[in-house]
Symmetry: C2
């Protein structure tokens, strides 16, 4: 057995902010050195931020990432940290042309670099490229085919990237054959409910398969629609959890391990190819660390004391906080209707940004009820954010007269949608005039069924509860109020906003129940149809009423048209701006 | 040598319309039989329409496609066409579980079926899965690993799908080894400028490599943002063009060939694996056709007499025509400003749908000039479509007063954007009331630089010239007017709309040149930066002014935020509605 103190830097990069990300790495390495770490590991693509999507196809961006990585190695040396090996993820390229038609030119790779003594000691690249869900990596990268095994203080440490751990074969098989003492994986693993349980189970299983300790470092923070939850962890070679970082917070997780000492006679050798992966061995420091007294490792407890609902709430707060910050917005504006959706979004905004950076607007119309205004005012008062009232009636009337002059008297849905669009236009005017980010307050049940107005209540730069079913909106609101009570604070959300029947208030005495099934039932059908792709026959077999199933499916299939707010247009060139060009919204990189 | 008459059915399917697509195939097969064809080939995924995107991940949709394909075989037999082999593309599944984490369950495949005597005689699947540009096939499908070689009237015919022809190795190599007489490829190959030249060159090269004739059948028509151009063709084993269908029109291309007769002693055998592809031989009919007098094959000339500009114009007309038809819109509405963009869009709409289905609206505001109104009226009169005038001033004033009451007097960009949003809201009100599809009139130069108003002039269900740079907008307008003159018709676009300096007319005496570089220069930088991913250093090296390059790049990189009109929101589940769910807009399939 040998000893090794590793530092897992759970940090929050910004896509495209190469200089800021460099400073983040140097800061983490400095703190790790102060704590006596022998090896520092940062997340996947820390140099560029993650995911870079089609920025990977821009050759000058790949070059900038490679230059920034070299500069980072020099920075570390200049700071007196040159002798501490620092492992970072970055965007690189494989030499030589692409091997298939349509492959990115310059062959970009999702790569890893070992920085030491002012230089890049070694690089490798992710082998398994995920191309499902939010991932487009088979589009943007070419796979690597090596497994670096670095000897650090007499311990053989293999390096792999994220998906390499999730897929069988390849790097995992090679790491086992190399009989390493430790496998380190760099990750950019987005938050999903309950994913932390799955992650720990996977790490434990892989550690047992490989017969080595396993260190998993993940990034943290929001980037566009994704939230990275952190949850970095280490398991020993038996798969037992020995250290774990918190969720949703930056952290430097220091872990003392006693992995198997390197033994040159064991395992696959430098240059051996195992399951298509070539092993590349490199000795950084051969001599073991003199025996020392280990620290006690930190294991942040799970389940999170916040509970599952609290965990979701925290993800939403972090997502909004970082979207605003990374896109340069100091404040937000939103319409507050007295209903539960806008009440929850306002609460998330106040928790993310502080009440002085949240601007509520009451936009009462002809069909707004007295309790709507009262509940919205109550909301603002409880949380101490500024609220203005801007009635929409005179603008709605002016539109009605203009349309009537063109012999188009607005009735029914046209009249309902008009009210929502006047509200959206007013919010955008305030945003343009005062610089706030507009928050859309729609939930996932509305979006899925098309129960919203295009260019109306769907207006906004960010939609905090877009991925929350309506029943979850209530659950989150109840949780947030209960949490406040637990802490002896005023519950932020008016009880009446939670308990009253939901209504769009766009026509007399309207309620959501006029147009949609009961939300508990609706959401369970939506979760099955949208969330798990089950079809009509399966849903009916599961016991749902056939008419209800058909009605919900028809709503969902037709709503896609509305969700595509950015009008499609005939494509005539090899690259247009939308469909065949996927770039992160946050884009600080402009060369 | 043997003889064979093949029919390439260049048809226009609709994604999700399984019944309509079945009728299309039966109709094509009937006409082919009437003309004495020995083999009929339809395009890639004709049964489901193409591209199906994430519909492939819905197991019940895959099942529906498989059932529809079997039913189609029965349909053909019932029509007395059972003895004619019909080759169709469809969505199928490979048996057994997926092989990698994240792989679609049920392992969907982009497949080919040979229909004969009321049944499915043979199936195989696309091997090379494109995952670049508009293609997401590595996401949605698993690759096939067989090459079917069917013997038809004594000729060995190999079957492959689209990308299998573009990539080296695999099916192409196997077809060569099998020493077939003919390679047939089923395609869904979207239009791009000049792609027809590249396609012919590719087909000729592959035919020479394989040493066999090659028949290429492509679909035609618009589907969401894509237009399929047809251009089905046949080359002989020397690579010489022997038959070619027109662009942008349905066609049944009948071709008489004299390919090499099958010889059981030559070439790779049934079950042989060549370059990872297993050859599957099946004899449908062993005896050659008795000698007959061949027809003379049709070669539609290229370059198209329409010229390159005319070809683009026709693509835009087809794209709009099919988007409206496939989404169930009988008519369109658009704002006509007197400027060139809306004039061209109106002209495309009249050419696509007829003047009685186009509704123009003049939306004059405080800063609209007299010539704007006159030019818009002239446009409507030349083309004979209905035009109404709805002044926006009173609605704009009502908004201004409402905002002022909230202590937010609207100035500058806020006041400019407001006017555009009032126009967008009026168009949407007319759409909701009267059922028209709203056409957005923005061009690609505006979209790329963000020179437009979110929820204002960008409003619309379809944007016909979204992928056209401003300079191309002028070029198309000049071409369309010249074409009218050539045919002795009134030029549809007022000369003044073409010649006057472009202006948004949102503030006094405003012109585009106040905010943007000259369009000829701007478009050339945009084409290099957006179209070919060249970076700042390359553009400066190419001779562009460094300040100009930086200015344009900054505009483009910041405009992405605006283009993402559908507000992103924090993702908390394994499947939300936007980013990780890619479905076609046109979706007639609702089970």
């Amino acid at each position: 057995m040998a000893q090794l103190r590793i530092a897992l830097a759970q940090v929050n990069p910004t896509v495209g902010d190469l200089e800021g990300n460099r400073r983040t790495v140097v800061g983490a390495a400095r703190r790790a050195a102060e704590k006596g770490a022998h090896l520092v590991v940062l997340p996947e693509m820390i140099v560029t931020g993650y995911p870079v999507e089609d920025l990977a196809l821009r050759d000058s961006f790949v070059s900038a990432s490679v230059r920034a990585t070299r500069a980072l190695a020099a920075d570390l040396d200049a700071e007196g940290l040159g002798d501490l090996p620092v492992v970072v993820g970055f965007l690189s390229r494989r030499e030589g042309p692409g091997e298939r038609y349509g492959q990115p030119s310059g062959a970009p790779q999702n790569a890893v670099a070992v920085l030491l003594r002012g230089g890049v000691e070694l690089t490798s690249a992710k082998h398994h490229l995920p191309n499902y869900g939010v991932f487009d990596e088979y589009r943007n990268f070419v796979p690597g085919d090596t497994l670096p095994v670095i000897r650090v203080r007499g311990v053989d440490v293999a390096l792999a990237v994220c998906e390499d751990l999730w897929q069988d074969g390849g790097p995992v098989t090679a790491a086992r054959a190399a009989r390493v003492g430790l496998l380190v994986t760099l990750n950019g693993s987005p938050y999903e409910r309950h994913k932390d349980d799955v992650r720990l189970e996977l790490c434990s299983r892989r550690a047992r398969e490989i017969g080595a300790a396993l260190a998993y470092v993940n990034m943290v923070g929001g980037q566009d629609e994704l939230v990275f939850e952190g949850d970095s962890l280490v398991v020993d070679s038996e798969g037992e959890l020995v250290a774990r970082a918190p969720q949703f917070e930056e952290d430097l997780l220091l872990v003392d391990l006693d992995p198997a000492a390197a033994d040159g006679e064991r395992g696959a050798r430098d240059g051996d190819v195992i399951d298509g992966i070539r092993i590349v061995r490199r000795t950084l420091s051969a001599d073991p660390v003199p025996a020392y007294e280990p620290r006690s490792n930190t294991v942040t407890p799970r389940p999170d004391p916040l509970s599952d609902t609290g965990e979701v709430y925290r993800a939403l707060v972090v997502g909004l906080r970082d979207y605003a910050a990374k896109n340069g917005f100091a404040s937000v504006v939103l319409g507050i209707s007295g209903g539960i959706d806008s009440a929850l979004v306002a609460t998330i905004a106040v928790d993310a940004l502080g009440s002085d950076r949240v601007h509520g607007v009451l936009l009462p119309g002809e069909h707004s009820s007295a309790h709507s205004v009262a509940d919205a005012e109550d909301l603002a008062e409880r949380q101490g954010f500024a609220a203005r009232t801007v009635p929409i009636t005179s603008a709605v009337e002016a539109f009605g007269q203009a349309a009537a002059s063109a012999e188009a008297a607005l009735t029914g849905l046209a009249a309902e949608n008009l009210q929502a669009r006047v509200r959206g236009t007013l919010l955008m005017a305030l945003s343009n005039q005062e610089g706030h980010l507009v928050l859309a307050t729609g939930n996932k049940s509305e979006a899925a069924t098309g129960y919203s107005t295009l260019y109306g209540d769907s207006v906004g730069g960010f939609a905090p509860i877009k991925d929350c079913w309506k029943t979850l909106v209530w659950e989150l609101s109840l949780w947030r109020n209960a949490e406040a009570e637990r802490l002896g604070q005023t519950p932020p959300i008016p009880e009446n906003s939670i308990s009253k029947p939901p209504s769009a208030e766009l026509s007399p005495d309207q309620t959501d129940a006029d147009s949609l099934p009961d939300y508990a039932l609706l959401d369970s059908v939506l979760a099955a149809y949208v969330g798990t792709d089950r079809g009509e026959a399966e849903l009916v077999f599961a016991g749902y009423d056939p008419d209800l199933v058909r009605r919900v499916i028809r709503l969902v299939d037709r709503a896609e048209f509305k969700r595509r707010q950015s009008a499609p247009g005939t494509k005539i060139s090899s690259r247009n701006l939308s469909r065949d060009r996927r770039v992160p919204i946050t884009n600080r990189w402009t060369v």
